[in-house]
């Protein structure tokens, strides 16, 4: 299965940049639109500035059923005809490209910055100066507007939510982000350098292992390094521990938002116990330092393996109690069923990923569709649910926790022997593009590294799953009670900094 004129590649594969076909923009546009109506979806769409002041657009498409990726490019200057009207899933990418490079997608239905980074010199479009302006408004005598954030009531990251309400009912929610913008992608250009791995580990701190894994894969693909099996397994254990810890936290948070305190309270504590297991491996509860290009930075002694196994057993046991209480409580079920629905066709159209997509019945999981690292040798069954509501998103997490626990047990009991890390020397191969996908706990993480003549990054594009999914949250709120916003928000639990970069 090919995507027409684009070049094929696999997950964690690097190809010479010259092999990526550069099409006229009209043909590029047509190719992306045709591919997305034929089973492909857009993993990433980004611009790389050229020396002649033009912008090279790269599209990375994924075909989940066939396990294929494909990449194509086009050169644009001040503007081009927007793809969004025919391919809605790229709407956010086109807004990002316009903001980053000042290239206007003509005919984009809602062209606004997504991060509010300073405008570039000589930019053509007149953008709103801050996140708190130019919201979509509903007019009417009894319509009112609710503004929340950027500073929220809880201990969470900043973002602004603007609700258009009719009584309690939310007619429209617009989410304005960018408060967390720290200039990550800009600083990655010219790397790898000594801060690169730390950007990866902190660009979304709750997904440290996920992003470090994706970075490792991208570098290993360009450097043609094979990670030793033991290193792969330890990375997989780290990734699944991260998934379990965050999913448990989310279940607890959802329980808390419907006022079911037993599960909320137990999950808060059990989540901490799981984070402590990650710290047993690498000293950090968030997996800082666990993954380095070439493999894992820490090996596991038999003693630590036993400790981890015991921790996994007791964690799984404690969680089962909290989980059963949650699902066995009629009052909880009444609060989460049918709330915050995203229908399957909308999910496909806007390109959701991760548990949010699986809860809509879309069987999409990088570990299965585009296997990487340890998942090429061992499989974690994926699960889906059809309702697309808060219940579904909670249910998917609950099942995934169990499956990840089984995976970790399996790995710990039969860890491959040998080294954990292969030598990884710089500089990287010149003029390559590598695409690295990882299924983080929120969904697909996509890193695309492009090296220049000197083997340094001329571009390093990161797509956190939140980038695809924030719009899903806005959609889920339509027609809902505004008081259900916290619950819907927790059921997605998206990253602000991973989006803002």
């Amino acid at each position: 299965m090919t995507s027409g004129p684009f070049a094929d590649l696999r997950n964690s594969e690097a190809i010479p940049t010259a092999r990526v076909p550069v099409l006229p923009i009209d043909a590029f546009r047509r190719a992306v639109i045709d591919a997305t109506s034929g089973g492909w979806r857009v993993s990433s769409l980004f611009g790389v500035p050229e020396s002649d002041r033009s912008l090279r657009l790269f599209a990375i498409l994924a075909h989940d059923e066939h396990g294929n990726l494909s990449v194509g490019a086009a050169k644009v200057r001040e503007s081009y005809e927007s793809l969004t009207p025919d391919c809605p899933e790229v709407h956010w990418f086109e807004r990002e490209i316009a903001e980053q490079w000042g290239v206007e997608p003509r005919g984009h239905p809602r062209l606004k910055p997504i991060r509010y980074q300073p405008p570039r010199a000589g930019e053509r479009w007149e953008r709103p100066p801050s996140a708190m302006t130019d919201f979509f408004r509903v007019e009417g005598e009894e319509v009112h507007e609710v503004a929340v954030g950027p500073v929220h009531a809880g201990v969470i990251e900043p973002g602004h939510f603007r609700f258009q309400c009719f009584g309690e009912e939310v007619l429209h929610l617009e989410i304005a982000l960018g408060y967390q913008h720290r200039g990550v992608e800009r600083a990655l250009v010219g790397g790898p350098h000594k801060r690169t791995i730390h950007y990866m580990e902190t660009l979304a701190g709750d997904t440290t292992v996920g992003h470090a894994h994706a970075y490792g894969q991208a570098v290993e693909a360009i450097a043609r390094i094979a990670v030793p099996p033991r290193g792969m397994a330890i990375r997989g254990i780290g990734l699944e521990l991260e998934r379990i810890a965050n999913h448990i936290g989310d279940l607890g948070a959802m329980a808390g938002d419907v006022g079911f305190l037993p599960t909320a309270s137990y999950c808060g504590r059990i989540r901490g116990d799981i984070l402590n297991l990650t710290a047993v491996i690498c000293g950090s509860r968030f997996g800082r330092g666990l993954i380095r290009p070439g493999g894992a930075a820490f090996d596991l002694s038999d003693d630590l393996l036993r400790k981890l196994l015991a921790g996994v057993e007791s964690g799984a046991r404690d969680l089962a109690i909290a989980d059963r209480l949650f699902w066995g409580s009629a009052s909880v079920m009444a609060r989460i069923e049918g709330v915050g629905v995203v229908p399957m066709d909308v999910c496909e159209e806007i390109g959701l990923v991760g548990p949010a997509a699986r809860a809509c019945g879309v069987d999409r999981d990088v570990r299965k569709d585009h296997p990487f690292g340890i998942y090429r040798y061992t499989h974690i069954p994926t699960c889906t649910w059809s309702a697309g509501d808060v219940f579904g998103r909670a249910h998917i997490r609950s099942i995934e926790i169990q499956r990840s626990f089984s995976f970790i047990r399996e790995q710990l009991e039969a860890l491959p022997i040998g080294d954990v890390r292969a030598e990884c020397s710089e500089p990287l191969a010149p003029n390559r593009i590598a695409v690295s996908l990882v299924e983080g706990w929120r969904g697909e993480i996509c890193h695309a590294a492009v090296t220049g003549e000197d083997g340094r990054f001329v571009s390093y594009k990161i797509v956190d799953p939140s980038f695809h999914n924030w719009f899903g949250l806005a959609y889920a709120l339509r027609g809902q009670q505004i008081s259900d916003f916290p619950l819907c928000n927790k059921s997605f639990n998206l990253s602000y900094c991973g989006h803002d970069l």
Binding site: R115, Y116, Q117, S130, A131, P150, V151, A153, G154, V155, I156, E157, P158, G178, Y179, Q180, H181, R182, G183, A187, K194, R195, H198, Y199, T202, L203, A204, G205, D206, T208, G249, P262, S265, Y266, G268, R269, R271, G272, L275, N276, A279, V280, I281, C282, G283, S284, R285, F286, R288, G289, F298, D318, I321, A322, R324, L325, G328, S495, Y496, C497
Partner: protein
């Protein structure tokens, strides 16, 4: 109902006894306060400083590590040819003054408690508004975890409150992004006087991995006066708790753990 009660019984009592009892055991590989044996350093060697991703190490007059910039990544430990640097398991890192975070040969000056009126006002009840201004959600998560049953900071009269108007101070995470500067300032102004500010994590103290990026402010102190610095990337919950308890005078006259 009976199932809920049975579950409660099976979950048991899980709050740490600390500070009445010993602190929770940290994992072997936990990286706490670094220790430098400068006597091992050969003349002119600056391998550690060259390896540090955030420029936390100054070798101009003996090795000095700025804990406010340190990511605890151990690149310096790996780079040191003489094994003069190692990371200990000591979780106590909090200081009241920025310069106290610069670790040299002498003993570290840990955070002293609030004095005078602030001590009287806040010592038994400290309400904090947590503001993330570019934090990566790791400091936020380990700040938040202190409210879970495992740590239960409510025991010490410390609460995270929903509004700055209900707060005695701010707990800040993140390097203070350009896009959050105004919101942070407004939140600070909304806290009634007298008020305190606590900076948690390398980003909030110095910018951390984002030091000198034009998109951020190199930490909280650029915008608001800071009363307590808690280093780490992110600091362990025990490190944050240690800092908070020192500030309100709950760790006085205790043996070193």
């Amino acid at each position: 109902m009976i199932r809920t009660i049975l579950a409660r019984v099976r979950q048991g009592y899980r709050t740490t006894e600390y500070p009445k009892g010993p602190p929770p055991v940290l994992p072997e590989r936990f990286r706490g306060r670094p220790a430098v044996d400068a006597s091992k350093c050969p003349d002119g060697c600056r391998e550690c400083a060259a390896a540090c991703p955030t420029g936390a190490i100054d070798v101009s007059a003996g090795v000095r590590i700025d804990l406010g910039k340190c990511l605890f990544c151990t690149e310096c430990e790996t780079a040191c040819p003489e094994k003069a640097i190692h990371y200990t398991g000591d979780h106590r890192l909090a200081a009241r003054k920025r310069e106290d975070l610069i670790l040299g040969a002498e003993e570290m000056q840990l955070a002293e408690e609030l004095s005078g009126r602030l001590r009287t006002l806040l010592g038994r009840s400290l309400n904090l508004r947590v503001v993330s201004a570019g934090g990566c959600n790791a400091c936020e998560a380990d700040t938040n975890v202190l409210t879970t049953v495992g740590w239960d900071i409510g025991r010490f009269g410390i609460r995270y409150v929903a509004s700055p108007r209900h707060a005695d101070g701010l707990l800040l995470t993140g390097p203070v992004t350009e896009n959050m500067r105004e919101a942070l300032r407004k939140t600070y102004d909304a806290v009634p006087d007298p008020k305190i500010v606590i900076a948690v994590g390398a980003c909030a103290i110095s910018g951390g991995p984002y030091i000198d990026h034009p998109e951020q402010q190199n930490g909280a102190a650029s915008c608001v006066p800071v009363d307590l610095f808690i280093p780490g990337c992110p600091p362990h919950p025990l490190t944050i708790l240690d800092g908070l308890l020192r500030l309100i005078g709950r760790l006085r006259r205790r043996r070193r753990p």
